[in-house]
Symmetry: C2
Subunit: 313 residues, 2 copies
């Protein structure tokens, strides 16, 4: 009799779910809407109902389910208690208790960025590594750190918040977190667009980026691919900040590999040509063996990592 686990990735608009068999294969995946009204009171009951429905369809008994892992926004402590998941409407909620009593199977919960990192370690770009840093370059810069095969949660669940590492003393705009000069202000999709705007304003160098309403991170790396000089300068500034930030993370956590994901990473390995020189400049020799690689699981990283809480060996 095979065993199963469920992976649940709760987002602000949809909940992604996956059914995995014991060896790690994703058997099926699906989504349900996230109902955030009434303080998010329906979210976990909806998840439970959806999992029960799939179990019925697949003729899976609860005795065959090793557990359900959950990735969620917000600060999640080592017991799976979530706080400050503002987007979901939740106050403080103990996910293993609440969802566990609905499902009658073991439940674990971690932060969504940490779940994605764990997924990439288990079945993605970091497969085979026990010391890994996942970096998600999306609207913001998210992070998840794996130490000796375990998620670095930290005292209040704020471990791995590498988007808020200070990398620039001369910044006047305030980051979403309230500080100035955070990595996220330069290395996220938004940050790259901001750098582009600055470079376009402060030089009059001709560029394919000119005469557009809005320049995106994708435009910049498309420009890099056709050797547009200004695009390459912007990419260099991005790489300098991100390389410096990763070097700092390396001095703290000494990973084997950095797994780079999120929308910006769709530019591909060309990113590394800009990150690597800065990383090497800001690290001492022993840290330079760390590899840079692309994330492989895309939007499924969260469900993989959540299920992996029960399945990863």
């Amino acid at each position: 009799m095979g065993k199963y686990a469920f992976g649940v990735d709760i987002g602000g608009t949809t909940v992604k779910l996956g059914l995995f068999e014991e060896a790690g294969s994703l058997l099926r995946k699906w989504e349900i809407p996230t109902r955030t009204e009434n303080g998010g009171a329906k979210i976990l009951p909806d998840v439970a109902q959806s999992i029960h429905k799939i179990m019925a369809e697949e003729s899976i008994f609860k005795e065959e389910v090793l557990g359900a892992g959950v990735g969620t926004p917000g600060l999640v402590d080592e017991n799976g208690v979530v706080s400050t998941a503002v987007n979901l409407g939740w106050d403080v909620i103990n996910i293993p208790q609440v969802l566990g009593s609905l499902l009658e199977v073991p439940v674990k919960a971690v932060n969504d960025a940490n779940a994605a990192a764990f997924g990439e370690m288990w079945q993605g770009g970091g497969k085979g590594c026990k010391n890994m840093v996942a970096v998600t370059l999306g609207t913001g810069v998210g992070g998840g750190i794996i130490i000796n095969g375990q998620i670095l949660t930290g005292a209040v669940g704020a471990g791995g918040e590498i988007g808020h590492i200070h990398v620039e003393d001369n910044e006047e705009e305030v980051c979403g977190c309230g500080c100035k000069g955070c990595l996220e202000q330069y290395a996220s999709a938004t940050g790259i667009a901001r750098l582009a705007k600055k470079y376009l304003t402060h030089t009059d160098k001709p560029s394919v980026l000119r005469n557009r309403n809005q320049v995106t991170a994708k435009d910049v790396f498309d420009g890099v691919k056709i050797n547009d000089e200004l695009s390459m300068e912007i990419a260099k500034a991005f790489g300098e900040y991100l390389g410096k930030g990763l070097a700092i993370v390396a001095a703290v956590s000494n990973p084997q590999v950095f797994v780079i994901g999120g929308g910006v990473s769709k530019a591909g390995e060309v990113l590394f040509e800009y990150i690597r020189p800065a990383y090497d400049k800001y690290t001492f020799a022993s840290l330079r063996s760390a590899r840079l690689t692309l994330a492989q699981l895309g939007n499924d990283a969260g469900i993989y990592g959540a299920a992996g809480l029960f399945l990863a060996k």
Copy 2:
């Protein structure tokens, strides 16, 4: 029948040793010279002989010894294999294997800064905390990070090297590690003396620090205690760098407490008046609950931590 553990802290000139009983009390401590000649071939045999002698004196049988923990300079991987411990003359050496076969008891080995950090968590300034960062402000800046009660070793044993976090873009002098702008260049005893020299040269403000051959970190904090204005400016620069560095470490590892030790920490809690404002400035709200506290075990932190590898619950 009580059980015992030994803690061994190998330094460049002496090896400190301690005999601990199971509940964590240090029963006796002693030192032997570190014989670094012949590639350090005598170091572990000397340690074994010394431990055997104490066991004979105290009538302790090897069946009563839970283990011997070792803290050593150099990079130490998760299996206790040391590399690049240049000061000791060693090439690559597997301490648990070599010392274990001499002692016929279990042996574990970790980096010396990590051993000291673990000691402070077990019986010192971080007692009761499972997520802690130890910072040693000595000739250099050392660090040890404890995550969920475990030492953060990292891929090659370079975890917790927080002295080499980049905190200053405008630095021209090269750090011992080969980079420029490392935390160690401003927050170590040497770094503070360097800051003092810079401030004394670049202003003509009167100060108790003037007209000395050499200004030390101690002089600066002695000056602070009598409200010498220039000393306070230097302390502020030191605090800005260290607070920024600790804020960065916090965004990665989210500790409950920073335990500050090393020679500079003898200045006492006045240090925190300079570190705290900068720390708060560079951290987002959830990280500000972290405490700053002084190390309590002094030079014994290493033997405590090494023995704690077998005794800490």
